[in-house]
């Protein structure tokens, strides 16, 4: 499935602000894995996701997906294989465009965008059904500009857009961090439903240890740009927050505060 081979990334190399964000990550995901990623600020979680997505190139190492080498591909070409949801609800959707226009953009991910007509009626019907599964009433507001939606609604929509064309890999970068706890739970529940329905291989970064334990079949913890801990199988199932704290002496304010 996904394979990261000795991936390195340093920002501002050769300056006083030099920051080695990812320092030799090796990671292999199996088909259908739902991996949660935790780690303190600056541990390299988001950088790792961005390196997979191709937001910036790797300094060293390789990114492979189903044996295809993604390393030389630009971001927009990798998009064919990836569904992505970001931390900032504003980032995943175009505010000045309608809900159905945003969905139409996502529906064409990985396809040629030609001069065919934008949205067919059959497509509209599909979008309506898909929006109804969110349970937010958005199916009756298909022509509303996305900028008028709340953060939670936008995040749910981005999630739908990420999975509208089944992605080989779903990348969730703290996608509930900007939401209130109730909305965050709702979006996570939707995430779980979509992952289950389409058997999506998923990589989810979170700052919330409870979520990291509750969701997924595997948990990795990053520290100083490396994978420090990798828990899977039975051990992951029986994991508790106190286990994590005790076992790995995690001293990170934000993680503790989010308990």
């Amino acid at each position: 499935m996904l394979e990261l081979r000795d991936v390195h990334k340093t920002f501002n190399a050769g300056t006083v602000n030099e920051k080695c964000a990812v320092d030799g990550v090796n990671l292999t995901l199996e088909d259908g894995d739902f991996v949660t990623v935790i780690g303190g600020n600056g541990a390299g979680k988001s950088t790792m996701l961005n390196l997979i997505a191709g937001v910036y190139p790797v300094d060293q190492g390789k990114v492979l997906l189903n044996e295809t080498d993604l390393t030389p591909l630009p971001e927009y070409q990798r998009a064919k294989f990836l569904g992505r949801v970001f931390q900032d609800p504003m980032m995943g959707t175009a505010a000045t465009m309608e809900i159905e226009e945003n969905l139409a953009l996502a529906y064409r991910r990985g396809k040629v965008r030609g001069l065919g007509h934008g949205i067919s009626n059959a497509e509209r019907k599909l979008y309506r059904e898909k929006l109804a599964t969110l349970g937010l009433g958005l199916e009756d507001r298909m022509n509303t500009k996305v900028g008028l939606l709340s953060g939670g609604q936008r995040q749910a929509l981005t999630l739908l857009m990420a999975t509208l064309q089944k992605p080989a890999l779903l990348l969730l970068d703290e996608h509930t961090a900007a939401l209130d706890p109730k909305t965050a739970d709702k979006v996570l529940q939707l995430t779980q439903e979509m992952v289950d329905r389409d058997h999506l291989t998923t990589l989810m970064v979170t700052h919330n240890m409870k979520h990291a334990i509750q969701y997924g079949n595997r948990l990795i913890m990053m520290d100083s740009g490396r994978v420090a801990v990798d828990i899977r199988g039975e051990e992951k199932k029986n994991l508790t927050v106190s286990d994590l704290l005790e076992k790995f002496h995690i001293e990170n304010d934000r993680m503790l505060l989010s308990e």
Binding site: E75, Y76, F86, A94, A95, R113, G116, H117
Partner: protein, 307 residues
């Protein structure tokens, strides 16, 4: 200061406004859709005028001359696009560089600083001598251009182009080639500006290397006047483009009225700058002092009820 003088001058203002409306649609594509202030247009307008007039001098039919102007604009937009996307130059600076270079290109095309063309000797499409005919013909151009753009921005490619301007991060995540779309948008925009230059050259009976100076400001004035005055009623994309053309007409009617008051035409550029500044400020103040949060919430809930 006879009112009859003003009324007599108004059709001319409308004719000019319509031609500049086509130019303003070009500016709308870059400024509003791509979120780029493209300064290439100051050069492109003259390139379009020069190409059109010289092709007519060479004996080509008028539609070939206008197509030539359009193609010249595509080329100018392509250069700015490549400077911006392939060479990493900020869009504003890329536009300035192309515009600067076009000055020399325009002098070459015109074989001098200016060339005149007589409606008596050449089969011109429009001329300021026959204002009402010119208004009808340019209006037809405007309708066709708006119809084609309305279709284009509804296609998959066009939607991707709009998304590239609205949210480049999201666009890349959805597999849209943002750089390619920027180039296409810049080419389309400059082609329309050059077409307007070709029409303007015929209308005024000459092309001049200086005819494009400050045209970005006039284009922006039209876009901003159109959007500020009509944004409440014109929500549909085609109507928004029409609003931009109306903005250009209003600009020229206001200018005509000002000169009717006897203000020296030397002040034209300053007055234009003041008009643009005022309209930009109005849209800023509207957002800042109109208790936006409450208002927007009210609009939202009203919308929710309707739908």
């Amino acid at each position: 200061m006879e009112i009859a003088n003003l009324l007599n001058a108004l059709p001319g203002a409308v004719g000019q406004g319509l031609i500049w409306g086509i130019m303003a649609i070009g500016v709308f594509i870059t400024y509003k859709i791509l979120d780029i202030a493209d300064l290439t247009v100051d050069g492109t307008l003259a390139t379009g005028g020069a190409t059109c007039i010289m092709l007519l001098h060479a004996g080509f039919p008028v539609w070939v001359a206008l197509l030539g102007a359009f193609a010249a604009g595509l080329g100018a937009g392509l250069i700015t696009g490549l400077l911006h996307t392939c060479m990493g130059i900020p869009a504003l600076l890329a536009g300035i560089l192309t515009q600067y270079a076009l000055w020399s290109v325009n002098l070459q095309i015109l074989d001098g600083a200016n060339q005149s063309i007589s409606v008596d000797k050449y089969p011109l499409l429009i001329s300021s001598r026959y204002v009402s005919t010119a208004i009808w013909i340019v209006a037809l151009f405007v309708i066709v251009i708006i119809a084609v753009l309305y279709w284009f921005f509804g296609t998959s490619l066009g939607c991707g182009l709009r998304a590239s301007g609205a949210n480049p991060n999201m666009s890349r995540a959805q597999g849209i080639n943002v750089n390619l779309n920027k180039i296409i948008g810049l080419m389309l925009s400059n082609a329309l500006v050059a077409l307007a230059g070709g029409l303007l050259g015929q209308y005024q009976g000459f092309a001049d290397v200086k005819m494009g100076i400050g045209s970005i400001v006039i284009g922006l004035a039209a876009v901003i006047i159109g959007e500020t005055l009509f944004s409440r009623i014109f929500r549909n994309f085609a109507l928004r483009l029409l609003g931009v053309v109306l903005g250009a007409i209003i600009y020229y009617v206001v200018l005509q009225t000002i000169s009717w008051f006897g203000i020296d035409s030397d002040f034209q550029k300053m007055l234009t700058a003041i008009i643009v500044a005022i309209f930009l400020a109005v849209s800023y103040w509207k957002g800042r002092f109109a208790r936006p949060a409450k208002k927007r919430a009210a609009v939202n809930s009203a919308k929710g009820e309707v739908k």
